[in-house]
Subunit: 246 residues, 2 copies
């Protein structure tokens, strides 16, 4: 990178970036997965990137969380490092190549969580100033009770940081109570961001099919003019993404 | 941290923070080490923190550098994570306890290096918005030839990132040529920061004794009103710093 880093909103790529946001249990990952399969079946080249998945910082995140060494600031910065690595290796190259990129959680997850942890809202927004602005950012609005039921019913134990246990929100260190308070505050932050960033709200209490139909309609409109790419192109893209890591 | 994170310049601690900046071979570390011993002999409680030394991110920095996985952005963010961890565990607690804290390299090192690597100057300044403003920031101004002679004469091989080899500055991949170009650009950034941040310039071509005399004079003035702390206090401080890591 000899030229200056580009800032949020300044990118002009042939590809499209769709991201989903919402609290745990909002059903956003299910919806994104359905969208992914549908886009592929429609002939688009689809690439995806998950929150907190960069190989560069995986170990430090895991170890930091395990040993509870993370403060709100270092928690925030480690996630930003992960995000920067993924932006440069897994988001920008496919967008340049004209692919559709899907991201499960994006900068708004950091804005919500970090601010609830006490990090300054302006600072964290500046921190992610290098992010590519999504073509569409979906927010799955979910009543807390619905999300709690889904989480408690169908999954493994709630994790320490996921429940915001580092914030000592529950007097009795009750992880379920802490989770509810923490996720409630995250919802408040998301709601503030709907206008600030133009998040597209999906009512996550609707049926899976209805939510998916709404998403597809919006995505279809946003894809107008985007070329469907052939297998040949897909292979080029795969080698391109691989090369960018070396 | 339930309260909002404080921003640069907003801290009011009983302790004092003195930091040194300059290119490799400027002699800043020698000067800081002499100052450290002198302050202790004068009865002050002195604590020190080195650039890039936090246990939290040591591994990722080492591995990232070794495998050359770091881009300018992730390089910058990892150093900021290191700095945030040290600020919260090794800089703020002793300052709160009234100690004198010394730092070999500070935020200005990041501002110089990251900007030379192509990171946006405003972004990186915002990134370090949580840093404690130093009581005095010394900048050791050194002609490049003098620094080069010291570096090449007295040390192990120059390292890849230290020479800015990731920037491909030298056509023939000559590490000495790259080092010279890279350090020259860093000097330009430092010079811009002298006025921006009120860095106190020390002429690093003067004798070691003369430089140290200038430093001590300035530090003495800045310490007016700071209490010299006794052994009892020092022990409290050590346990405090230890506790903050757990």
């Amino acid at each position: 990178m000899s030229a200056r880093m580009k800032m949020y909103g300044k990118h002009r790529f042939p590809g499209r970036l769709f991201i989903v946001e919402g609290i745990d249990g909002s059903g956003k990952s299910t919806q994104l997965s359905l969208l992914h399969k549908w886009l592929e079946s429609e002939g688009y080249v689809v690439s995806s990137s998950e929150w907190n998945s960069s190989p560069l910082v995986q170990d430090v995140t895991r170890r930091g969380k395990k040993k509870k060494m993370l403060t709100p600031m270092t928690f925030s910065l480690i996630h930003a490092t992960d995000f920067a690595d993924r932006t440069e290796h897994y988001i920008i190259p496919p967008l340049k190549a004209g692919a559709v990129v899907l991201a499960d959680r994006y900068i708004y997850t950091a804005f919500a969580r970090d601010v609830v942890r006490g990090v300054h809202p302006d600072w964290v927004r500046g921190l992610y100033g290098f992010a590519v602005k999504p073509t569409v950012a979906f927010y799955f609005r979910t009543p807390l009770d619905v999300a709690m039921k889904r989480i408690l019913g169908g999954r493994d134990a709630i994790k320490f940081y996921e429940a915001g246990m580092d914030l000592k929100l529950s007097k009795d260190d009750d992880i379920e109570e802490s989770f509810r308070i923490f996720q409630g505050r995250i919802v408040e932050e998301y709601e503030k961001m709907v206008d600030e960033f133009g998040l597209v709200v999906i009512d996550a209490t609707l049926s899976i099919e209805e939510q998916q139909a709404q998403m597809r309609k919006i995505v279809t409109e946003a894809l107008t003019g985007t070329k469907k790419t052939r297998i040949r192109r897909w292979l080029d893209l795969a080698s391109l993404a691989k090369g960018s890591r070396e």
